[in-house]
Amino acid sequence: MTMAHSEGPPLGLPPAPVPVDNPQTAAKIELGNKLFNDKRFSSTGEVSCANCHAVEKAFTDSPLVVSEGINKLTGTRNAPTVLNAVYMKTMFWDGRSPSLEDQALHPFVNPVEMGLKDHEPILAIVRSDPEYAKAFQSVFGKSGNAITMKEVTQAIAAFERTKVAANTPFDRWYFKGDESALTDAQKRGFEIFVNQGRCVSCHVVEQTQALFTDSKFHNVGVGINAIQKDVPALAKEYIRAQVAATEVDQKVLSDKKSSELGRFAVTRYFDELGAFKTPTLRNIALTAPYMHDGSLKTLRDVVVHYNNGGVTVAEDPVNDFLSGGIRPLALTDKEIDDLVAFMEALTSPEVAQLAKEAEKK
């Protein structure tokens, strides 16, 4: 995978943004890698960040529907990839965290993820373990009690910022003009992607780069459809601030119905009821199942859902809060196939290679 700090960005992506107070260094990235994979930072000693963001699964836990934490406890959401997360303006499906640094704090102490009561056990390990002590001293010039979660999460974020992946067949075709990079079906699929399919309005492709996300939140008729009767009572809880901002992380991962409120649980704006962040489509073919709740098994299911105008079963009623951009698309079966073929052209060769090697094992 490309190291953002030492090389230019891969074809199709802009330079990765790095916060001024957390510059990238090789030693910090290596420390972050170690922390990312350390299972001791969970109450059972069995779960690290990598459990749900596995390198060989394009940094997800595919094919799980929703993620599994300690003792096989499940949350409510499908693990989003770490790949290209550096470009996201907010973290988590509902954007409840503003940065990679902040995001890294929460799974450690969520009861259905890594299950720690607080961050103290992590600090105890990194302050006493000789390898960590040495690394924190050399990266941050800190030791003992001077090491805090700030340094821990900065190192993890620095590691995650290197996980950029592009240079896909699509990128070689679109940005380099390599006509042989895509099949005819994939090229037709792109035509649908930017026109009849209306996909590009949220999964953004620009002239010099393609993040395939607008970093915004939309109600696309997933999840919320099943809890429409519960919305008034649930919404009231959040409007009246009976669920404090600090409780949202635990609440939305433990309570399926609260989870479906999406971005509304964070901002409490009606405009964002049932709305979730647009995920990137890069490497999407490797990370089934799909959507924030993992409720759609294949890319074809996803396209059919959008083709129906925001419902998985064509005859079902759409939810009252559906985002304005979602409407029936009138795509033919062949056009749906082409669109799926196009999304299969968004896989980075090195990510696919890792997945292939893991399969052999």
């Binding site: 209306r198 704006y269 009252d320 304005g324």
Partner: protein
């Protein structure tokens, strides 16, 4: 402000503050409960333009706008005291369209007061609308505020009764913008006389809120952002100390102060209108309006539409605009400058300059 204007919100603010010295004396606060006026809110949904395609098929985009506004209004907590629907429920005043709208609005959990729009009227001159929603102009009192609904989209009798071979053509002519065959809206003499008599029973310091479909002020005649007898109606409102006029029709945020009268426009749930070119400060060379929509983002069908929650604070309105894909805005009466002002964007430094179009 005199002491009788102390409202419940001020009381709560004071009750919550330990530093009693900065608050009002308790005896004055008790007056708040002697006063019949209390703070309250109501919601305002307008300009749904539900449009029949054929059979039972309606334009999906307009349907979704109203469905969403109704569903969100039902989530308001605390509940608004009532909802006003500001007119143009239908596109061409068809029974099917009005029935379709009435069905959607029946989901609202509080009472709905209706205002007549020209798109509800010019097919059968409001006959079916009145069957569904009642009188076309009326008034009521609520928590110390006098509310009036006017039918402001009438026009000259000659145009209405003598000019058009069919009712359908009359409807289509009035629905057009920049239409040389159109005719200016008006409240009319009969209704102004009714209003004069209605207001004669109301004390002059009673806050007055008037709902109309068209603005009771003259903005842009070509699009009927206009009421021909606006000055006559304003004259009837002039003796009152607190007057607010709230209107639909324009599908955009507008606010203005004329004498003692604050004017506020509401958003449509259907589509936005661009600001008419007469609003521009510099000369423009725009072609005649040919595209009926000017969205910032054409993909998001709800962009530049919305609905509003209105806070009646001491008899003056604070308009809270719920805008999709856009920053929410509040336009409220500023007692210091005595005019409505945007809470955030009023200061020229805070304004967002318009985009340059090529």
């Amino acid at each position: 402000m005199s002491d009788h204007r102390i409202n419940r919100r001020d009381f709560l603010k004071c009750a919550g503050a330990l530093a009693a010295a900065s608050c009002l004396p308790v005896s004055t606060v008790e007056l708040a409960f002697a006063d019949p006026r209390e703070n309250f809110t109501f919601a305002y949904i307008s300009d749904a333009h539900l449009q029949l395609i054929s059979g039972t098929k309606f334009v999906r985009n307009w349907d979704r706008g109203l469905i969403r506004a109704v569903a969100e209004t039902n989530l308001l907590d605390p509940k608004p005291d009532f909802v006003v629907f500001g007119g143009d429920l239908a596109q061409l005043a068809l029974k099917e369209e009005l029935d379709h709208g009435a069905e959607m609005l029946s989901k609202l959990q509080v009472k709905v007061h209706h205002v007549m729009g020209e798109h509800d009227y010019y097919l059968d001159l409001g006959e079916y609308w009145s069957k569904l929603f009642g009188p076309q102009y009326y008034s009521w009192d609520h928590k110390g505020v006098h509310f009036v609904v006017l039918n402001s989209i009438l026009t000259y009798d000659d145009w209405t009764f003598n000019r058009w071979p069919t009712a359908k053509q009359r409807m289509l002519e009035m629905a057009g913008l920049d239409n040389p065959n159109g005719s200016p809206f008006m409240v009319g003499e009969k209704q102004r006389e009714w209003l004069r008599q209605d207001l004669s029973k109301v004390k002059k310091d009673t806050p007055l809120v008037v709902f109309s479909h068209s603005p009771i002020q003259k903005i842009y005649k070509g699009w009927n952002f206009w009421t021909e007898d606006a000055e006559e109606v304003q004259a009837l409102l002039k003796p009152f100390s607190d007057v607010t006029v709230i209107y639909g029709h324009v599908h955009q945020i507008q606010y203005n102060q004329i004498g003692n009268i604050s004017f506020h426009a509401v958003m449509a749930t259907a589509w936005p209108w661009p600001y008419p070119q007469t609003y521009a400060q510099a000369e423009q060379y725009l072609p005649k309006l040919t595209v009926p929509m000017n969205r910032a983002n054409p993909f998001f069908e709800r962009d530049a539409t919305g609905w509003q929650m209105i806070d009646i604070d001491s008899g003056r309105a604070a308009m809270n605009y719920n805008l999709y894909n856009n920053a929410r805005r509040t336009v409220a009466f500023n007692p210091k400058t005595r005019q409505p002002e945007d809470k955030v964007f009023q200061d020229p430094e805070r304004r967002i300059p318009p985009q340059t179009h090529f």
